[in-house]
Subunit: 390 residues, 2 copies
């Protein structure tokens, strides 16, 4: 089969707020080849990513991504690998490439799974998909009382693990932060798993993070996530040497090498990969394989739709010891209505991948139409992009 | 002063060829504040970078770059630093940000230099700008005879150093590559400096690079540039341990940390920074400072205009031991006519920065109008970008 078309759908809710909720818009990718189609999602700025698809060529290493994808044959996983190699070479100097390639790669695996009638995790080489313990990913409350309530709600809903992040954390005194973490622990109960996310607040300086370590240890927090930006390896390494709390990070990585460097040089205990940013399932699987050899646990980063969730679980589905999974619980109406709710918590607080071909989850056309954001890009009178119909 | 406007000008020649010549298009940035204006240039895909300026917000860490720039006060270098901090936090998840920020940062330094009536290198903290030995950056000929001719031409034009890159190199047998390098050495003469650029051809695998080392050593090549992509630290380290030829790389880095990792973990001898990609002069200066402490030599990466050349020399102007400089000699008509030719070779093959305020080089409006590429981006009926007038 040849890749006949790649269509990009920019969805957003009517009023996007300036908050840390990444599910307020979405960029969906639909790939068609032969009689099959596959769907993927980029975790990226939709407009900028759309521009990377069909922008005019700047030079031989700065071509639009479309130049290395349209018309390519797609019959086996080796074809996806070849497409990666070509995209990375021909769009080397186009920085946004990895975010766009992610959605295309995911759609290609979905398409191939549908054609070969296998779930994607099997195509990736895993005989079975192990259940994962879902952690609810929620934003800190404005007060400890509100955080307590959120934690209590989450455990009542059956979550065995909860992560609090963003909001006030790190922007107030260490004592006030300690109160927030204590409230989360109290609401969650002593036996469940508590995770804290600092959202890259301290960039590359460990000073403020150090002041929070004792409260994190007291509340038996499993990991402190993203005290720094993904590249700040020295800060990660220094902080990791000072505490029993594991560090987690990596969602900002947009290629295999960056994730590997965090594992090799950052002293992290958990590598968090967003399949919608790092280059798709192909690269995420490569990271999972590497993490497993280095005793670092792989975890997905997912804050949006069930399509993104299914995609993000495939790369480490077969690694039974890598048993945590981020599960979005405060997603927007767009994200919640994009697909049927197929990946649900069971009585043990676990989630399971669909066993149907591909990713096992198809976006609902009516939702796409409802949130579709009309977009047009014209260069020198030529239409570079126009919202496709569905 | 407040930043009143930022205008992005997309220029390109009528027929861009699929070759390794990055000067076929350009993205210029004009910043205005008070009665002053400054100019910068991004080394980036123009359309994709334009989209990053004013795209709709996705969430609090994926805002358009404009949100952190327009209306900001700009009176001292500390203001540029503050703008960086805000852009990096507010546009953290927008991958293309660094390429856009580069041009804005350069324009801000130019504007500040004009206002304070100082060359940019002085604002960056250097008392004097030392001359640099220009190396001519040219593409390999299709045959050794053609490469010989190009090398002979370059030395006759007064260059003391020449770099050959891209084209056939690495895509043919090691013996054929050795013939190319020998032809370059013969045309250049035995005393001049010869550099070879592999253009990331071997991605992250040293095998093919190893086979070329003996011919590079025989021809006394000073550096082998970019055998691998910027992130392939292990491949760089392994290759560097096998040869007396220094490795050079780093043009793909789009933040300080990536450049630092190449220095700390890649075993390179030269760090090559494109000020139009890494985040502008602010970040480039940070890399130059760090390289100097680690005995790694800083070199600019510049293949386009004299505006980009002036910008790229400022961050290491005061470091006398870091004495090489990439000098574009095969630039397109667009790049050559964009500014007056102010940075020229002297009798010793050196180039000197202008001593006039700012970058000392202003683009010619007539050239901008000639190559201006009409572009329009519309989202939900709202014009996000339209080509500005000049």
């Amino acid at each position: 089969m040849k890749i006949d078309s790649v269509d990009l759908f920019y969805l957003k809710i009517p009023r996007v707020k300036n908050i840390g909720d990444g599910s307020q818009d979405a960029l969906l990718v639909r790939v068609r080849a032969g009689n099959f189609e596959g769907w993927g999602e980029c975790e990226a700025s939709p407009l900028v990513t759309i521009a990377a698809w069909n922008c005019p060529t700047s030079h031989s290493a700065c071509q639009p991504v479309s130049a290395s994808v349209l018309g390519q044959s797609i019959d086996t996983p080796a074809d996806i690998k070849r497409i990666h190699t070509n995209v990375k070479a021909n769009s080397l100097d186009l920085l946004q490439t990895d975010h766009l390639l992610s959605g295309i790669d995911i759609a290609l695996w979905d398409l191939l799974g549908r054609k070969l009638e296998e779930p994607v995790y099997q195509l990736l080489g895993y005989p079975t998909a192990h259940p994962k313990t879902a952690y609810a990913s929620v934003l800190f409350g404005d007060s400890p009382a509100e955080t307590f309530q959120k934690a209590e709600n989450a455990q009542q809903q059956g979550y065995r693990a909860v992560k609090f992040g963003w909001g006030c954390y790190g922007r107030q005194s260490p004592a006030a932060d300690a109160d927030q973490v204590a409230a989360a622990r109290e609401g969650l109960g002593k036996d469940r798993c508590l995770l804290i996310d600092a959202g890259t607040l301290w960039v590359d300086d460990p000073t403020e993070a150090e002041k929070r370590l004792s409260s994190l240890e007291t509340q038996r927090v499993l990991w402190l996530e993203e005290p720094f930006v993904s590249g700040a390896l020295n800060a990660y390494r220094k902080l990791s040497s000072m505490t029993t709390v594991k560090l987690a990070g990596g969602e900002g990585c947009h290629d295999f090498h960056q994730a590997r460097h965090m594992i090799d040089h950052g002293g992290i205990g958990f590598i968090q990969i967003d399949a919608g940013r790092i280059g798709g399932l192909s690269i995420a699987k490569q990271v999972a394989d590497y993490a497993a050899t280095r005793k670092v646990k792989y975890v997905n980063h997912t804050f949006t739709t069930q399509l993104a969730l299914s995609a993000s679980l495939q790369p480490y589905a077969g690694l039974s010891e890598h048993d945590l999974c981020e599960y979005p619980v405060e997603a927007s109406a767009l994200a919640q209505s994009l697909t049927p709710l197929l990946i649900k918590l069971d009585a043990e607080g676990h989630v399971h991948l669909p066993e149907t071909p591909g990713l096992g989850i198809t976006p609902i056309s009516e939702t796409i139409r409802k949130y579709l954001t009309e977009t047009e890009i014209v260069v020198n009178g030529k239409v570079i992009y126009q919202t496709p119909t569905i």
